[in-house]
């Protein structure tokens, strides 16, 4: 089943707000508004004809540009956002695959950076457990409903979420100095710190 058919299926059988996004690269994706992600995922997993039994990947990134304003034409998402981070949001991706039907789909959603919260899908796929922990660790998206949400890669007392674009790396950790050496600094372009 190709992604357009899957999209039609979702549209007909769930009341989720979805839209088809095909102009972004070789793999088109289905955009789902953040509050209906869990219901769409449940449908995708449990519908016999679709049967997406594998969550291959879940990731996201911090988008600072206003290019995402495109979505504001369709959905009223601006009211969720705090005023400080007006256009900033975290875009999340899920890549699903089915061993039975042998088809795949990319689901996309976004959450505002001031209120980075997404429904956990651990109840559907156990592989989501570590993937969501990683997104929480590196991007700071919290998942209510996750059984064990704590940092995975970085130590528990680490500050900040490194994959956010405004992250500044620490110069020391537990008393260990990690500021760039004079030699390193001499190679760096001017006005750029570690």
């Amino acid at each position: 089943m190709n992604i357009l058919q899957i999209f039609e299926q979702i549209k007909q059988n769930t009341d989720a707000v979805v839209s088809f996004q095909e102009d972004e690269g070789p793999t088109p994706s289905i955009y789902v508004r953040s509050d209906s992600v869990l219901s769409v995922m449940t449908y995708l997993k449990e519908e016999e004809a679709l049967d997406f039994n594998v969550l291959m990947n879940h990731t996201g990134f911090h988008e600072t540009e206003s290019s995402k304003l495109f979505w504001h034409l369709f959905f009223d998402v601006s009211q969720d956002e705090s005023e400080d981070h007006h256009h900033e949001e975290i875009r999340l991706f899920w890549h699903l695959y089915s061993y039975k039907v042998e088809h795949r789909v990319t689901i996309e959603s976004s959450v505002p950076i001031g209120k980075a919260q997404m429904d956990s899908v651990v109840s559907l796929w156990k592989s989501a457990n570590w993937l969501e922990r990683e997104v929480y660790d590196l991007l700071g998206v919290t998942y209510p409903g996750h059984p064990d949400l704590r940092r995975i890669m970085l130590p528990p007392d680490w500050e900040g979420h490194p994959l956010r674009k405004d992250y500044v790396a620490p110069t020391s950790y537990h008393g260990i100095d990690n500021s760039p050496s004079a030699l390193t600094k001499s190679f760096e372009p001017k006005g750029k710190s570690k």
């Binding site: 890669m153 992250y167 790396a169 620490p170 950790y173 537990h174 260990i176 990690n178 050496s181 390193t184």
Partner: protein, 162 residues
């Protein structure tokens, strides 16, 4: 040979300083701590393998720091790991030596700009030999070990340093 200072032809008598004799034994039984974190660990394994044969220099891998003389820091040290490295080093009995193997352990290497990587293991523990390369070839590691042996042989072991 330079190793034994004076040899009488008739009897089995050898004259040498005790320092020299002890250092000879120490240099040729440099047991290293099996501590490979990243890519260099594979080259360390290959050096320990049949072609490199690290054991012909008297270097045997040890799993426990307490029985090791040499710490081969093979690979990237992250900030999360840095404290562990220090603990491991402190567990080793003196005299102890450190070879920093590869660019990552020397200076952070390719991952210098990363937020979680320690820029050089010498920020945590003292290093005796720096071995460049990403990763160094087994021959380079052998050369580093020979250099360390030279260093060890010159050390005053019984005489206190001034």
């Amino acid at each position: 040979m330079k190793t034994l200072y004076n040899k009488f032809e008739s009897d089995n008598i050898v004259l040498t300083s005790l320092d020299h004799l002890v250092n000879l034994a120490r240099a040729n039984s440099m047991w290293y701590l099996l501590f490979s974190t990243a890519c260099c660990g594979i080259e360390l394994m290959q050096t320990g393998g049949p072609r490199g044969d690290l054991e012909r220099f008297g270097s045997a891998p040890r799993a426990v720091p307490r029985t090791a003389d040499l710490m081969l820091v093979a690979g990237t040290i992250t900030l999360k790991m840095a404290e562990r490295v220090k603990i491991l080093y402190e567990q080793m009995a003196e005299p102890r030596y450190v070879i920093s193997m590869g660019s990552c352990a020397n200076s952070g290497g390719l991952f210098q700009s990363a937020y979680s990587v320690l820029d050089g293991v010498d920020r945590v523990i003292p290093v005796d030999i720096y071995l460049p390369g990403c990763p160094p070839r087994p021959e380079a590691l052998l050369s580093a070990l020979i250099d360390l042996q030279k260093k060890v042989k010159k050390e005053p072991y019984f005489r206190k340093k001034k």
